[in-house]
């Protein structure tokens, strides 16, 4: 078949070396690797790229938690903790509730910074923390957190967009010393001594309880790396947090979610044998795959001869005419073809000219020769005219052949 014959062509007849003397194609993995060199190279590049992507995904990322003391990004609070550390404040980073409690209990009346974004801590734990801490600084606390601590400070909405910078407006020495701060995307709190009140509001960005043990700061911008150098942020942050020599920095995370006492899972309720059912069915499925997937011998090579549809060339030319709007060319072809066929039908012989053919056709049909000549020699300018003319030409042919 084709394969055999093309092999024959590649090997010239004049060649003295028969197929036996040709070097035998190498076998083994090395030879096949050499054969598919570009494929192997491509596979290597793909593998390396994939490996790098996976490694990049799996590699430990830098801390991206907002207000984390180890986050050096714009949202982090590494700057303020570093500054506090240089001024003799011992900043303990607590990873979870137990660490925070032990740090609080180890220190002597330490300050606790609590930034519970998701409201993870429940009431008993909050109360434990509040009891252990000398002073409590809450950053943008939620309503539940404030009510759990049973303080008189309440949430009172957000800082209006119209108040970019807020003046202290209270007698608190920390606020007085710090001066103006930005109220951008902050919350205001009511109750106790409230400072940085937006105009026309009784609640302020900073609220301190009557006994001074609880401070509520309504903006993360005051502590973040990004906003620390603006207005009086740094002064307010340092004075609020640096009140005592020890500071416990606690950001509750999902790790602290209270899972104790959750209802029984489906796994606990199901009988014992259920856990073996799935794996065993997988074993059965694997066996079934091995049963059906094992082929009875290798596939057999089918050499396919090349076969092309003969009319393709004419159709390709037709598309070219259409795309190029070759009206004139199409008209010439149709006219020549019609004349040739008419000459054949009228038995005019191979030497018949167009004029002879037209005259003979007109005579046969009993029509004026000029009319037939005008029809055959017409030059259609548009495709629509070409279609109409081609049909008329076809009709003329039919009329001649029906006589």
């Amino acid at each position: 078949m084709t394969g055999v014959n093309t092999a024959g062509i590649r090997q010239p007849e004049t060649s003295v070396a028969g197929p036996d003397t040709l070097p035998a194609p190498g076998r083994g993995p090395l030879a096949s690797l050499r054969k598919h060199r570009s494929l192997a190279l491509l596979a290597t590049v793909c593998a390396i790229a994939l490996g790098m992507a996976v490694w990049g995904q799996l590699a430990p990322k830098g801390d991206a938690t907002p207000l984390s003391v180890s986050n050096a990004g714009p949202e982090g609070a590494r700057a303020v903790s570093e500054i506090l550390g240089r001024h003799g404040v011992d900043v303990h980073k607590a990873r979870n509730f137990e660490a925070a409690m032990s740090a609080l209990e180890a220190g002597s009346s330490p300050t606790l910074l609590l930034y519970d974004r998701s409201g993870i801590l429940d009431e008993p734990r909050l109360l434990d923390l509040a009891a252990a801490a000398g002073r409590l600084v809450l950053v943008t606390p939620r309503l539940e957190t404030l009510s759990a601590l049973d303080s008189d400070i309440r949430q009172a909405g957000v800082v209006p967009d119209a108040s970019p910078a807020l003046v202290p407006g209270c007698s608190l020495p920390d606020a007085q010393a710090a001066g103006d701060i930005s109220g951008k995307s902050g919350f205001v709190y009511d109750g106790g001594v409230s400072c940085y009140r937006p105009s026309g509001s009784a609640a302020g960005l900073l609220a301190v309880s009557g006994d001074g043990r609880l401070s509520v700061l309504g903006s993360t911008g005051v502590l973040s790396n990004d906003g620390l150098d603006e207005l009086g942020h740094a002064a307010l942050a340092l004075r609020t947090l640096g009140g005592s020599s020890e500071l416990v920095w606690y950001l509750p995370s999902l790790e602290d979610l209270d899972t104790f006492g959750s209802p029984q899972t489906l796994d606990d309720l199901a009988p014992d044998w259920v856990r073996y059912l799935g794996p065993w069915l997988i074993v059965v499925a694997l066996t079934a795959i091995a049963w059906r997937g094992r082929r009875l011998g290798p596939l057999v090579f089918e050499p396919l001869p090349v076969v092309v549809k003969a009319v393709e060339t004419a159709e390709g030319r037709a598309r070219m005419y259409h795309d190029a709007h070759a009206v004139e060319q199409a008209r010439d072809n149709l006219r020549a073809g019609t004349l040739a066929r008419l000459a054949g039908k009228l038995r005019l012989g191979p030497g018949a000219t167009a004029e002879h053919t037209i005259d003979a056709a007109a005579r046969l049909l009993g029509r004026p020769a000029a009319e037939v000549r005008d029809l055959v020699n017409h030059h259609p300018r548009t495709e629509a005219r070409l279609v109409a003319w081609a049909q008329e030409l076809n009709n003329l042919e039919k009329e001649v052949s029906s006589r």
């Binding site: 074993v283 094992r294 090579f301 092309v308 549809k309 003969a310 060339t313 070759a326 060319q329 076809n394």
Partner: protein, 430 residues
Amino acid sequence: MAISGRYVLLVLVGLVPVLLAPGWGTVLAVLGVLAALAAADLVLAGSLRSVQLQRAEPGNVALNGTIDARLTVRNDGNRRLRGTLRDGWQPSAGARNPVQDVDIPAHESRRVTVRLQPVRRGDLKAPHVTLRSFGPLRLAARQRTMECPGAVRVLPPFHSRRHLPSKLRKLRELDGKAAVQIRGAGTEFDSLRDYVRGDDVRSIDWRATARRSSVVVRTWRPERDRRVVMVLDTSRTSAARIDDETRLDTGMEAALLLGVLAERGGDRVDFLAFDRRTRAWAGSAVQGNLLGQLVQAMAPLDAELIEMDWPAVPAQVRAVTAHRSLVVLLTSLDGGAPEEGLLPAAARLANDHVVVVAAVRDPQLGTMLRDRADATGVFRAAAAERALLQRAAVSAELRRLGVEVVDAEPHQLPPRLADMYIRLKAAGKL
């Protein structure tokens, strides 16, 4: 190795003890038993190392006919061989039952018959045979694929055979063997015979009639022992499909009909398949049945994707015969540049021989020509018109060179070529 559906069922049944006594210990125990059963079955299965295969050559078959391929499997091992056999015929061989169950006792052999119904012409191959030998429990099996090359030659179908009787009758009329004669049918004086009613009165030999009491007519017979050389073009243009078959296949049909007819007509026939080198050759010079030789020579032919070497064709024809003969070129009139290839070669051949060019016309061009409903249709008609005009121009040029042209649609080409041969023979032009 392979496992059976029975083994899968057994694994499923293994779920029962696992569920009755849940625990990893049970799981491991059941898995162990299953593995041990499979291993035992494998060990006890008949060995495939000691199996001998022998293939009987199936021979030739016409396209779409059926043939039995026989394979003898000999089990030289000491254990009974029970399992499945697959004869690896290529798909176009159309094996009806390539997968069969075998059961061969030790030191015995069995014959496996695979029925083939090939769907393609050519040499169809079966490179290997695969055997799967199950153990006594039929749970697991050994499997081995063995090289066992076999081939069946599928011959061209010769559909144009049905035209043969009518063409032979025409030839006999020429020959003077038919009772009713047409005058001038042959060119060589053959014999005298009695007049029968219906004979042409012009063929009455008055001189012989005068010597006898009855009317005698002369009979003529066409010239005999002329040569017919058929050249089949196997170059790229013959790969084109028209209707349901390629130009190559149509050319084969035409060559078969003409070859058989010319042989009956008493002429010597040579067949040559050529593109840049000779692909096949057959002729009456060799002893044996011409039709058999022709189909054997044609069977493995395929169109090659190379250009026809027309300048070499006259030399090829000269190599076949030095005498004046009828040279039939089975090729195409369109595609490429016939002006550069076919025309000069035909002109050179026409100096020494009677040349006929037989080509297939695409009936689809005619359909394209008539559909003029919209712009697309009209442009298609224009393109078809151009293709037909080109063919007509090449045909006219060939006729001007004194070459006869048979330009017909696929199913019409073989009878038309036969008619052309009969006409040339009747006119004594060979």
